[in-house]
């Protein structure tokens, strides 16, 4: 019994000892460890997903790799849940999010946004067989959206985007609080919508590139109406490190200016999403 207890204590101490790291100044930590820890999520093709070799791939991933390259450090990806990420207080668990995050006013209280790296349209999608002609016909219907995202905020009429060059928008489609259906990721919402028009959902609000990817993979869906809004998507870091913020801000400007971002956008989306929409 004594032996077993000792052994377990050793295991416990090793498990705890090797795992944690005390939070420090973010930029110093990255440069000292020579590793940029980026948070990502596997459920957003074509932004970020695991490719056939089980490696991270996608537009966001490419941008993150480029940032690490220019900082002169290696990159490592972590996979926290989206709502854990947007809650802020990262405590140095990861240094940066290149995860297509919209810099909303609410999020700016918890996180700091060095720069917008592209803009994507958000649109409403319905089942292929649905009779709707325009998105305004979805008023009062059951709309699916991802939890803690701008899409859910839009449906709740609680979307304030805090970024330069973000085009203005109106709330074209409104529905009752009960009819806003929250999902862990957009694919689950598409799964519910594919069951048929009005079976569980009447429509989904999501990012147009993601919707197009789903349609390409055989989902019986159809985008209706003009985009609801354009979301500027930014790199995010934890609050409180101005030096890191400034360094990243300068780098993102550079990435825009030298055409790196446009090239990556064309590679992954087929279109250049890096300019603000008119």
């Amino acid at each position: 019994m004594k032996q077993l207890f000792k052994l377990a204590m050793v295991v416990l101490i090793i498990a705890i000892g090797t795992s944690g790291a005390w939070a420090g100044e973010n930029l110093d930590r990255v440069m000292n460890n020579k590793v940029l820890v980026a948070s990502t999520y596997g459920g957003w093709p074509p932004q970020s997903f695991l490719n056939d070799n089980k490696e991270w791939d996608g537009f966001d991933i490419s941008v993150a790799r480029e940032i690490a390259k220019r900082l002169g450090v290696k990159i490592k990806f972590e996979t926290p849940e989206w709502d854990i990420l947007t809650a802020g207080n990262w405590h140095g668990r990861w240094d940066i999010s290149v995860g297509s995050m919209t810099p909303t006013k609410a999020r700016a209280k918890k996180l700091s946004f060095p720069g917008v790296y592209y803009y994507t349209p958000a649109g409403f999608v319905v089942h292929k067989d649905a009779k709707y002609k325009d998105k305004t016909e979805l008023n009062g219907k059951r709309i699916g959206a991802t939890t803690a995202t701008v899409f859910e905020n839009y449906m709740k009429k609680d979307l304030v985007i805090d970024a330069e060059g973000a085009p203005a928008f109106v709330y074209d489609v409104t529905t009752t609080a009960k009819n806003i259906k929250s999902y862990k990721d957009s694919n689950t919402a598409f799964d519910d919508l594919r069951l048929g028009d009005g079976v569980r959902l009447d429509g989904v609000l999501s990012s147009v590139p993601t919707i197009q990817e789903a349609i390409k993979n055989g989902y019986p869906l159809r985008i209706i109406g003009a985009p609801a809004f354009y979301e500027p998507l930014a790199v995010a870091i934890d609050k409180g490190d101005q030096e890191f913020h400034d360094k990243l801000a300068a780098m993102i400007k550079e990435l825009h200016a030298d055409g790196t971002l446009s090239a990556l956008s064309k590679k992954w989306y087929g279109v250049d999403y890096t300019k603000a929409a008119k």
Binding site: G20, W22, F49
Partner: protein, 325 residues
């Protein structure tokens, strides 16, 4: 299993029972209307186009399936009991697995992902659960002894612990550990946070199991030991626990089986165990149904193995007790 010594005619061989059984099955199948399914297509020569066959098709399909099903039951009745159980088991398994047919799964995709699911996902699930169960075992042992000791402090701490951590849902506990500890200044990684949460939760439940196990040792043992001059520590270590541990091990195996599945909850903090990979791998090509079902099958296979080990453990400890007596 209890072997009945009274020999009766088998229920499934009584004509009255078979008649009623056939009637009930027929009514259920008729209500389900299976004409336009794979079963109907087998009967196309008799009923014509299944979609057009109407009530007649519905009736014919229900009747044929009902008779087949009843005959199956009747035939199984002739087999000796262990084989009976095996055949029923296999039939249910085939029926269940063939249900996946309707999902139209891509086997190629599953094959291409299987090795990664096993080498990364299953491995993580098992090692996280194994470390947690060892730690929970220790926590539970300490907790149970504390609860049974005459020391008010120890009893207070232990009963507070079981009361609180049996009350918290595991998912909530995982979030609390992962998000809460950093607020207090210690940044914990996802895997240790998951192990800690599983340990605290299972430790609390197992404390109660261990307490019951220790209490199952007759008090005479304790009294005899004390009157021989053993103090609390040696009495526990040398007299009570060696007898209690064989009682405690089988339910611990049971906890381990359920922990293997509860460990899927730590996917929310980004640990790459089976459940996390199930939700991640299929996303690129939108083939997540494939992954979910594959992982369900892996959990099932894992549990079958664990149940076999559990049975061996139980019979092992049972034998030891009998030999000693």
């Amino acid at each position: 299993m209890y072997t009945d010594t009274v020999i009766e005619e088998k229920l499934v061989h009584k004509p009255k029972f078979l008649g009623i059984f056939l009637g009930v099955v027929f009514v259920i199948l008729f209500a389900l209307n299976l004409a336009d399914t794979i079963f109907g297509h087998f009967l196309t020569p008799v009923i014509g186009d299944p979609a057009q066959s109407g009530l007649y098709g519905r009736f014919a399909v229900a009747l044929v399936l009902g008779i087949l099903f009843t005959l199956n039951i009747f035939a199984i009745g002739f087999l000796p009991t262990p084989i009976q159980s095996l055949v029923v088991w296999l039939e249910l398994a085939v029926f269940f697995v063939s249900g996946f047919h309707i999902f139209n799964l891509s086997l190629e995709f599953i094959q291409s992902q299987l090795w990664f699911l096993l080498s990364r996902g299953l491995f993580t699930t098992i090692y996280v659960s194994a470390i947690s169960i060892v730690l929970a075992f220790i926590v539970a042992m300490v907790g149970a002894i504390a609860k049974l000791s005459g020391n008010g402090f120890a009893h207070g701490i232990a009963s507070f612990y079981t009361s609180l951590f049996r009350a918290l849902p595991l998912l909530l506990l995982i979030y609390l550990v992962y998000l809460g500890l950093p607020q207090m200044g210690y940044v914990i990684d996802a895997v240790p946070a998951g192990i800690l949460a599983l340990t605290l939760n299972y430790g609390a439940f197992m404390t109660e199991v261990f307490r019951a196990g220790i209490e199952s040792i007759p008090p005479g043992q304790w009294e005899a030991s004390r009157s021989l001059g053993f103090t609390f520590g040696p009495t526990m270590r040398r007299i009570i626990l060696p007898q209690a541990i064989p009682v405690i091990i089988p339910p611990t195996g049971n906890s381990f089986i359920s922990m293997l599945k509860d460990s899927s909850l730590i996917s929310v903090i980004g640990v790459w165990e089976l459940m996390f990979l199930a939700r991640t791998l299929g996303q690129k090509t939108f083939q997540h149904m494939e992954m979910l079902i594959t992982v369900a099958m892996i959990y099932w296979a894992l549990t079958i193995v664990m149940e076999a080990i559990q049975r061996r453990l139980e019979s092992h400890y049972r034998t030891v007790k009998v030999n000693k007596a």
